[in-house]
Symmetry: C2
Amino acid sequence: MEKHDALAALVALGHETRLDIFRLLMQAGPKGLAAGQIGERLALPPATLSFHLSQLKHADLVTFRRESRSLIYSAAYPVMNALLAYMTENCCQGAAASCEAATPSTCQPEERHETPARACVRR
Amino acid sequence: MEKHDALAALVALGHETRLDIFRLLMQAGPKGLAAGQIGERLALPPATLSFHLSQLKHADLVTFRRESRSLIYSAAYPVMNALLAYMTENCCQGAAASCEAATPSTCQPEERHETPARACVRR
DNA sequence: TCCATATTTCCAATATGATGGAAATATGAA
DNA sequence: TTCATATTTCCATCATATTGGAAATATGGA
């Protein structure tokens, strides 16, 4: 993940409504939730909801599929994991020699993937 | 970490200049950097730098200490780790029964602390 | 005390983001 | 085709964040 993408994700998550939406989708898992359901649960007017979903889409934090008349949104776990990895990778950068490998905590609703990251442990 | 604090941290990191500052401080480690050094490296006018440092302070993402005429800023590793843990803790919430414990990747410049978190692995 | 350095605070201008009503689009059912 | 549902797009308004020059504050040295 590049800085540009990490920044986009952080900007998107740095808004209460979008953090609420994203967490709701995280909780919902891969099945996702229809836009209408999200709006109902968070009491958001359609236009406002659509605006924020659009922001999350642009940041690649959510995906969606059509199911009949509904658009079903779900959290993009891989991007979330990439963001976590990015933030971790870049902490203590420049002290690579004194870093130890560490297992990142990731969110994998379907199956475990290997997404290595490094955590800096200087002594 | 509460939602309020996580949101504050995400808002703070969701700005290019502040992400730059924060990563610079992460790289600098616990020794930190004087405000002037940060401004010099990132080519920021004093007032602009001060504004962003203030935002990062309010989000508890940086700490500072005075050393003679300089104010030395450093990254608040524990808060960064708490943010990582928070984002991970809350993914797949509601499916706790099918979650497995996982080691979070953390950034610990001084010594290793135990900061347990959970990653959801549904099967 | 006086001056230089380091940084912050004040403030006004500017830019950007968010809101939500209303209209437009897409889908499926009768 | 016609209608109802689901969601988006358009757009004007409003709110908030950002910027940086200038002045203020804090520190230490001569």
